[in-house]
Amino acid sequence: MGTSLAFHYIFAAIGVGFPMLLVIVEGLWLRTKDPNYYRLARTWSRVLLLLFAIGAVSGTTLSFELGLLWPEFMRRAGAVIGVPFSAEGFAFFIEAVFVGIYLYGWDRLSPRAHWLCSFPLALSGALSAAFVTAVNAWMNTPAGFRDVHGKAVDIDPLAAIFNKAMPTEVIHTTLSAYVFAGFATATVYALTLLREPANRNAAAGLRVAMLVGAVAIPLQLIVGDVSARFDAHEEPIKLAAMEGQFKTEAPAALTVGGIPDARTRETKYAIRIPYLLSILAFENPNAPVRGLDAFPAADEPNPLPVHLCFDTMVGAGSALLLLGGWWAFATRAGKRAPTGLLARALVAGGGLAFVAMEAGWMVTEEGRQPWIAVGFLRTQDAVTTAPALDVAFYGFTLLYLFLATTLAWLLLRIRTDESLSPPAGAAVPSH
């Protein structure tokens, strides 16, 4: 399941983030009539076709796996979280319909009608991400039911969707999709520009991608900060694991890096910045911050992956912020093509965004352990009892690796068709 999720996350993020790029690039074509934008939109359509297909099948797998791997979780929590899942189902349905219309409708719709179809595509993509993240938020802060001897009663599906963690988590996850789609696309065109500095098409592609990435990344850091403060109040044990904080401290120092050791109860080799954790978590340099020791040992997540992933995410996110700022400043928000060192740095953007996204997901998952739904159901009680699970696990992992390799190979072969020209005589609106 973890493998499937990590794999699916990449494609889901593309399914959410990429349509936004298409909205912009096709809109720019209609506005400027620059054929480069048209070619980009056509090329990106082909990329979306591949990625969306893999995202859809891996999503189907996940919906099956919920039952195949977590039958007990679904039996007990299905009635509570099913409604946001169903809402996600509808949003994804609409996205699938418009993916069909958009990808195959280039020659069947007028340019303006075609462009308009990219809006429901982007919107339903964002909505489906929002609903599915609402479920994950529910697992962190379950709401909308009463727990009577392990059975959920008095279910209120709306309260379950709008649980406490939902607003920050939904925005944080949706933005991660835009950050990833923007920076990953920029990586591809930065590589092209390094080889062919005069390639106008690549410059246009990079500009659109970075516009999305550079707008999304500062917002993302702000939301990330809000969400860490949310954890300080609502999920203090997760915060303690994220920060590698074993002992309750007042004032608390911020632990950067280091290796948390759950046996010796200390985080070794770390840089500690006095007062900073208290300030970040509670806006008060002397506020006490609870460490893992303040909680029952049976409820403690393993701080090692949580802390390392958290620092990785924050580090990669901060690097992206600098990169986005540098790009915006050096190219005057895209008026010039980046050259030299900046172009080289932009190549790293996609990888950083990928690392930040997957690490962030690890933080929320590992930080929630040993619970699958905090206070309601433990992970070990929810997992399937079906036999031969490891065979299925290795089988699916191999299958995904194989698909990912083939996909990467095909994606690398997609080239912008320079001979492609916008439809002649098309009703291009003039502005």
Partner: protein, 324 residues
Amino acid sequence: MFGYPAEALVAVVAVVAIALYAIFGGADFGGGVWDVLASGPRRPQQQEIIGHAIGPVWETNHVWLIFMIVLLFTCFPPAFSALSIGLYVPLTFVLVGIILRGAAYAFRSQANRQSALGQACGHVFGIASIVAPFFFGTCVGGLTVGRFAWTSPFALAVGLLAVALCAQLAAVFLTCEVRGPVRQDFRTRGMIVTVVLAFLGAVALAVAKTTVPAAFAALTQARSLPGIGTAMVLGFVVLGCLWFRRYNFARFAVAAEAIAILVGWYASQAPYLIPGELTYAQAAAPPETLRAFLVLAAGGSVLLIPSLWLLFRVFKSEPLEYPG
């Protein structure tokens, strides 16, 4: 809600979703079957038309499945849990089939068809298109037999029946996608597979009668007969429509036939979701959840139906003029 128990209304939504998945998803799988079985002088054209027909709608066709799963775990969580454990093996095969098929289809659309990768994807697409409906069929058969006996002779017979039904749906739908000789190819295939389907249906019933008399009795009881009987009649209608080249009419007849088979089966199982173990009422989620789901389904349909209409309007209004 409206004087009916909420689980009955949800069960109706479920039948609609299953029927639509059987028709659209089934035709989609069937397209893969005909891709493997493409033959004769117009083999490449047949394959091209299949790709052309599936392209814009295949994502949508398979979302019905996700919708069904979500419906099941939202509204009947214990049934979802029991089905997942009981049918773990065949569902895993279905899943692998769906993954490989979707991936191979998408990869092939971007790879050169003559290249090694394109050819390999073509084979994978076709084989996975047979594997997935076959194991779906065994799940349905296993449910009918009871105790998830998906390897019982009846279940295997239903698996074959499911593949044939998919192939029939696809062949008939494909006659509406293209004109000229390629259309004739699919007309012939549609008639042959309709006969095969009738034969396999008879075999399945005979197997049921000899190996699982209880299932046979359920399928031939008074409330199952209208569905099963209508399906048989519609099978002849499909054959007649194809013979007289009434393609558009055949399209609706074959869809109605698939629905009739499902309704007949559904009626034979009611009120059980898992025969002998779990009824709809027993498996139902609390009424708050069912009501929320129904409200959501109503609201979602308001957005979904016009979107689907637009999709089919843009891509499915006119058959392709194809020189063949």
